[in-house]
């Protein structure tokens, strides 16, 4: 565990130090991959990439403009203790009194250097990126485990639901999915925490050294994605089952189990691949709810704390990281899907008449 831990910590540090390089690398890799595989994919990938970059730029601009309209307390540490002149001086040294376009240019320059400014409330005058780099590894390790757990729970459940439609597992799974989708996550997370800790007679909060306290956060974190995997897999598998080639295979006498796994499951899994990168990246980035519920010192909990403290630079950095993760996740999902699924045809142009 310890060695694994160190490994993850090192990964986290590396990623937070070179995030932009990594994003660019991933994008280039994906592009290269696509170039090698299919030529018609290139056009699609470039277009998709362009959209992502544009989105990122929009987000950066929006975040910049919105946060500059926040009250100035959020940018200066010890705001109440300073006199008016000192505040002005501080604002000047941060470059916040310059004209807005100049500020924006500096902001972009700093971003590309990986400099997100210094924390003003959470941990005064420390580099925001350093704070995040400390927190990221724990979120990553929890995220990876819970992602694995959700796949292990969701995929067999979805398959079982599709195989025996209308039987016990289908009913159980449907109830589960409806519950998870309809009830806000916060509510069932709180109840899991309340009764789970009571049942296992452990503390409400997470502690790094005690493996028993890892169980509940990981379990709750995996519920949401498990439900969505089960739901989509069931839907796609039922779609497949009703297709002609399955009927033919059945008529030919392919045994049920083999039919299910060789044909139905494999074909139904393809459209699901699209969601997996985004889902992985999101869980790795840490859950806002879970981390603050169990006081896990991770990235999600950090955002909640930073918002509570009105620490603008920290909020800004975290918001950017989360949106970056979302965008890259979607991009990877689409590219993966386009690479893997041979049915997607880029040559034909449909829709617009």
């Amino acid at each position: 565990m310890n060695r694994l831990w160190q490994f993850f910590e090192a990964c986290g540090r590396f990623i937070s130090a070179h995030w932009l390089t990594l994003v660019i690398l991933i994008v280039i890799l994906a592009g290269f991959f696509a170039l090698m595989a299919w030529r018609h994919l290139v056009k699609y990938s470039l277009k998709r990439l362009g959209a992502s970059v544009l989105t990122l730029l929009i987000i950066i601009t929006v975040v910049f403009v919105l946060l500059r309209n926040m009250p100035e307390e959020g940018f200066i540490e010890n705001y109440d203790k300073l006199s008016k002149e000192q505040r002005l001086q501080k604002l000047e040294s941060l470059g916040l009194t310059k004209p807005i376009y100049e500020q924006f240019w500096n902001f972009l320059k700093n971003l590309f250097r990986g400099d997100f400014g210094k924390s003003t409330k959470y941990s005064i005058n420390r580099d925001v990126m350093k704070i995040i780099a400390e927190k990221a590894p724990l979120s990553m390790i929890l995220g990876v485990i819970s992602m694995a757990l959700s796949l292990v729970m969701g995929i067999p459940l979805g398959a079982a639901m599709a195989r025996k439609k209308g039987k016990f597992w289908d009913r159980f799974g449907t109830a589960f999915i409806v519950f998870i989708n309809a009830v806000p996550a916060a509510v069932y997370y709180i109840f899991i925490q309340l009764y789970g800790t009571k049942l296992m007679s452990i503390d409400l909060t997470f502690s790094r050294g005690d493996p028993v306290t890892w169980i509940l956060p990981i379990f709750s974190m995996s519920l949401g994605s498990a439900a969505s995997y089960a739901m989509w897999l069931r839907r796609y598998m039922l779609d497949e089952i009703n297709k002609d080639y399955i009927r033919l295979a059945r008529a030919k006498g392919v045994p049920g189990r083999k039919l299910m796994f060789r044909h139905v499951f494999r074909n139904a899994f393809v459209p699901m691949i699209q969601y997996i990168p985004a889902s992985l990246l999101y869980t790795v980035a840490g859950s806002l709810y879970i981390e603050s519920l169990y006081s896990i010192p991770g990235m999600g909990g950090l955002l909640v704390q930073a918002i509570g403290l009105q620490d603008n630079p920290l909020v800004q950095a975290l918001v950017m990281i989360y949106s970056c993760i979302g965008i890259v996740g979607l991009l990877l999902g689409d590219l993966l899907m386009a690479t893997i699924d041979p049915r997607i045809n880029f040559v034909k142009k449909g829709g617009v008449r």
Partner: protein
């Protein structure tokens, strides 16, 4: 509903009767050759298929959804009726005992009555007026003789004769009284000895001390009333005399607080009535959900129809959509609520900003499917204006989709509201909503005996979100013509 069931029952009965009628006949009688009828030969079949009737029938077949619909309707109706019911509390008012100004904090639930005890006619009580309707009484004229209240520099001096475990015997204005230890401990220890010689131990009696607190003086070391607090009686049951005593008229109920209505679910940690807060919160959350749904539908339809119908714009809007769709919705939600002051309109804005996107795309796809059908081509050839085609020819096809999205928008909005409140950007406690009720309850989960506060609000919230979800999906299934073949 009853009519519907009866009608169905009658139909089934008719079928059975007919079957019974034919059952006695022999085959020859049952199967006879029909005579040739030229009119019947000319008859053409027609279907009395009606989209909405079929949708309704398919929906009624889903028992669970029907049940949920009934529950939800009752619940929503009740949330709006609740403030009109008699004797309801204000969800924001901090409930206090008016005569000693203590907040009624964390009253236990469930309490179904406010009656503390009943006394027969003719009981003498010390009464103090609260308002026109209510009197505060101290039970049994024998025990509490009077109260001594002092303010500021007017201290009350008295001699402690016997410092006991529960009761302290004192002499005050040449009379012997008992005071409750719980009432006066603070006074004795914190304020008592500043100017006087302090006894070595409190039990070294007698000594003189003073208090600047309100003290109840009892004639006997016993207290029948509730912890020496006032109980409350309706004015009509009391015959109040000038000296402050009162005699009960008939069997009289003494109440915990001046209201006939109990705190059905108790009070929260600030002393507010949870029952009233839950319904008020439900109203707020439903309102937010409803407005978000309306915005989603309005913007979604307008953009979707233009996107789908106007070919020149298709390309541009699709590109814009591709860019905007990449932005994680949670981030927008967090960002907008972070920047703006927490209020209902902020929440509505933050949620509406992204939700219409999916709706617009769905509408656009539907429009592209149906816009070139023959009846629309015909319409266009006959010179109908595009606006009219959109409203009259295309929109009716989308009604079921719109209703589904509206039904799903509400649980979604409630979830988002809980999320925003959870990360500390939601409505203040002054505007109760299901979100901040849940968070309020969550803060109390470590307090033994207070965990029910989370339970009730979560229960109402879950019933609402689950039933909207199930009804929405059942309706979507029912609205799908594929499911109309019954």
């Amino acid at each position: 509903m009853k009519l519907f069931f009866e009608g169905k029952k009658r139909r089934v009965e008719d079928n059975i009767n007919q079957a019974a009628k034919y059952a006695g006949l022999s085959d020859e009688e049952l199967f006879t050759l029909a005579e040739f009828d030229p009119d019947a030969g000319e008859k053409t079949g027609y279907s009395n298929y009606s989209y909405w009737r079929s949708t309704f029938r398919a929906f009624l077949h889903n028992r669970l959804a029907l049940f949920m619909l009934i529950i939800l309707t009752l619940l929503v109706l009740f949330t709006f009726v609740q403030p009109l019911l008699p004797d309801q509390y204000d969800p924001l008012k901090v409930q206090t005992n008016p005569l000693n100004n203590s907040k009624i904090i964390s009253a236990r639930a469930p309490s179904t009555t406010t009656v503390y005890m009943s006394v027969p006619a003719g009981t003498m009580l010390y009464a103090k007026k609260v308002d026109e309707e209510w009197y505060g009484v101290r039970n049994s004229g024998l025990t509490i003789q009077s109260t001594v209240t002092t303010k500021g520099s007017n201290l009350v001096y008295f001699t402690v004769l016997d410092y006991g475990e529960e009761w302290t015997k004192i002499e005050y204005e040449d009379e012997i009284y008992y005071i409750k230890k719980t009432d006066t401990d603070g006074a004795l220890i914190e304020f008592g000895f500043r100017k006087l010689t302090k006894p070595e131990k409190l039990t070294d009696t007698p000594y003189v001390t003073y208090s600047n607190n309100c003290i109840a003086l009892y004639a006997e070391p016993e207290d029948i009333s509730q912890d020496g607090d006032y109980l409350y009686v309706e004015a009509q049951y009391l015959d109040v005399r000038e000296d402050g005593t009162a005699v009960t008229k008939g069997e009289t109920e003494l109440r915990d607080y001046p209201s006939k209505m109990p705190f059905l679910l108790g009070t929260n940690s600030a002393g507010q009535d949870l029952w009233a807060r839950i319904w008020s919160g439900t109203r707020t959350s439903l309102w937010i959900g409803f407005v978000v749904a309306v915005f989603e539908v309005l913007i979604g339809i307008v953009v979707g129809i233009i996107w789908g119908y106007v070919r020149a714009l298709d390309r541009i809007i699709t590109e814009i959509y591709n860019v905007i769709d990449n932005i994680p919705t949670t981030i927008i939600l967090v960002l907008v609520s972070y920047i703006m002051r927490p209020s209902i309109s902020t929440l509505i804005l933050a949620m509406s900003l992204t939700r219409w996107l999916g709706m617009a795309r769905f509408i656009r796809n539907q429009i592209i499917i149906i816009r070139d059908r023959d009846y629309n081509l015909a319409s266009r050839c006959l010179g109908t204006e595009p606006a009219r085609i959109m409203v009259k020819n295309l929109l009716p096809y989308l009604v079921s989709v719109i209703m589904l999205r509206m039904a799903l928008a509400i649980p979604n909005a409630i979830s988002s509201e809980v999320f925003i409140t959870y990360i500390g950007l939601g409505l203040s406690v002054k505007t109760p909503s299901l979100g901040n009720l849940i968070i309020e309850g969550k803060r109390l989960i470590t307090v033994e005996g207070q965990q029910y506060q989370l339970l009730y609000s979560s229960l109402v919230l879950s019933v609402i979100t689950i039933s909207f979800y199930i009804i929405g999906n059942a309706f979507a299934d029912a609205a799908d013509p594929k499911n109309h073949v019954l």
